[in-house]
Amino acid sequence: MNVGVIFKIAAVGILVTILGQVLKHSGREEQSFLVSLAGLLLVLSWIVPYINELFDTIKALFQL
């Protein structure tokens, strides 16, 4: 778990916002929704393994 993940999430968020605005103002509503969905899935694919790892460590640490 390095700090890079956090910066990547922020970067994807900003990129998707800009792309969404550009697409929205050029009249392509659906594409802007698809772009934000793709960004969301991408970030989720990064963060879910870390969440899984966190829950395993907590389960091991607290003997849950």
Binding site: A10, G13, I14, T17, V43, L54, I58, Q63, L64
Partner: protein, 127 residues
């Protein structure tokens, strides 16, 4: 110092998340979750040492088997506080309070045998 890193990361993250939240709320919450994950992995090392020390103390006092129960209760509180906090930030208060209520019930469920054992010892003492 470690606390400087955590504090700085927290403030920067909140500022970035606020900016992201105004445009796309989902990314604000994801950013906050990423930061929380990083902070927890940062502090896990210290938690393990604290629990090792606590375990030695408990073994000295001869109450070893209760330690596992207390550890479990702390773990449940930790996890439920984490998840209900994130749900609260996302704006879903009901889910957060549900998680907290379930955590309390589960801890009570865990602690029930101890209460019963305590009452029995009390009863035997008074006869």
């Amino acid at each position: 110092m470690d606390i400087m890193k955590i504090a700085a990361l927290g403030i920067l993250g909140v500022l970035a998340a606020l900016e992201l939240k105004s445009h796309k709320p989902v990314y604000g919450i994801l950013l906050i979750t990423g930061i929380v994950l990083f902070m927890i992995t940062f502090s896990l090392g210290k938690i393990t040492e604290v629990f090792a020390g606590l375990e030695d103390m408990f073994n000295l006092a001869g109450e070893g088997h209760y330690f596992a129960l207390i550890l479990k209760a702390v773990g449940i509180t930790y996890l439920s506080e984490l998840s209900s906090g994130i749900c609260q930030d996302a704006g879903f208060g009901t889910i957060a309070s549900q998680i907290r209520i379930f955590a309390k019930i589960y801890i009570l469920f865990l602690g029930m045998p101890i209460i019963v054992a305590f009452l029995e010892t009390l009863q035997n003492m008074s006869l």
